[in-house]
Amino acid sequence: MTADLTQLFEQYYESLVRMLYRRVGDRDRAEDLAQETFARAVAAPPNNPRPWLFAVALNLVREDGRRSATRGRKLELLRAEHDQPANAPDAELERKEEAERIRAALATLNERDREALLLRAEGFDYEEIAATLGLAKGAIGTTLARARRRLVEAYRAQERGQAKDRGKHVAS
């Protein structure tokens, strides 16, 4: 690895894995995808590395998602996430449940909104988001506005649904 690529790796690897983790919900998979992204960067070094790296990573996610759907990997992941140890501390369980709810809320967003939101969370400015997603810079504000509103509303709906379920459970 050249010095520049090493620097690139150190600079963006963690951010990329975090974004991918938020997107796919599985750390191993996120790390694999990040490795794959950097491998592609080595093969074809980008000029504007950050948008390039994230755009490639998101493309890989989409491809991987399609493959995973055919393999039923999603089911495995979901099952793995639900198989919590019985003696896990309450706080940890609660945190995991909340993360699941948020991920489920994120899943209700369309691809573009979700990606814009995740890129913004990684500190991308509107220009970089536009460059990564191939959108006009002027549309990013509206995209983010819609994405944030939908995410919050979907999350609140999830919470309401869970509270209702809990109420039914208690009543029964």
Partner: protein, 466 residues
Amino acid sequence: MSHLDEGTLHALLDGELEAHEVAEIQAHLNSCSACGLRLREVKEFLAEADRLIAAVDLEAGAPAAQRPAPVPIPAAPAATPVLLEAEPRREPLPARPPSQPDPGPWEPWNEPPPPVLLIPDNESAAERRMRRMRRFGWAAIVLVIAGAGFVEARKMMPVGPLPADTLLAKAAPVVSPEETAPAREELAATGRADSGPARRANALPDPRVTESKAKVVATAKSPVAKDLPAKTPAAANRRTATDTGQAAATGGLAANIDVASGDTDGTTAGQAGQTDEAAVADTVPSADGEAAGTEDLATVRARASEALAQLDRERRLKQAAAATAALDAQRRRAASSTPVRPQPAAAPAPTPPTLEQRAQIYLRIGLDEASRQLGGPAHVIEGLSPLFMGLVQGTAVPGAEAGRPVVRVVYQDSQGRLILLDQQRLRPGQPVPTASATAWTLGGTAMWLHGEAPAEILRSYRARVR
């Protein structure tokens, strides 16, 4: 400037607008309360969305410590060196606790209050010593006060009458050494054993004690005792008894009574003196011979103890009478004062109505819902910040179509009075409300302005409805 769209507000909060755009928006926000409301709403959504995303952090997966380090990628031999542009790196969103929403970019309205760090002053060793001394000083004062209180309490505590023997024994040292010496000799000669407490009380006091109390004796002796010569041992003995009784009568005994009982009443002492003097007066003339002397002495002592018991009874009776009188007086005062009528249980204070209740709003709504109801943006009073918006029944607004809700924008002036701006979209065929100072139509919307403020104030607000 038209109302700000949500995308622009997000761009503003994300710090993506140019300075001149920010200035324009800020100017608009200062004059448009509707956009101010929308901005607040957008800020909430933005903060909440950021919090949610930050909550899904890498920590939610396996802990980083258990993860293998990322495998470095082998360098491709054909790779050409990359020249990285020196771009400032934007910090990604850190995982924040849920209670701390994203404050957004710096803006005057976003600026948090400056943090205040409270650091205690350093205390020098001398100050510490002084503080300790002060603390000990207080402890000492408390101890002294408690001690003084204890002593006073002990003084005030009633003490029962001392046995007559004890009192007489205390009175015994009134006999001077000159007087006791012959008596001791006489007793030795006769070999007569003392019998009875009265005798023991009279039997030969320790000369040292006698000497030490000589002065007391001198002052306590009555003239009668002085005049009696020590003719015979029996007489001496008798005189000793007489002296004892007299001393008790004239001072020593009374003093003992006072000290023992704590009675400061001079009349009591006087009574005691009189009683004992009478006893002595009775005793002395009839003293004739040893047996008679002994009998007199016993009589004197018996009478003295009786007198003391009587005194004690009187003292107690007096105290009881005083206490009863005080109690009665207290009862009389309580009885004479106006009887306290039982207060009826205070009714719980009525809960003040909420602002929604005051404004008769059955559902609070946001700008979007208001726009949906009205088919366009809600009208507002320029320069006034609305408290909230909501829906009221059409029947609650005279002139409005009863079957449809009316959008009500609620304001509150500086004196707490509610000002209500009602709006209802006019439908084709719907009668237009009669135009007046507080009812009019504005761009296909029927408007009503009313509330708790006086009519002239409402008229001035009407001119500012946009």
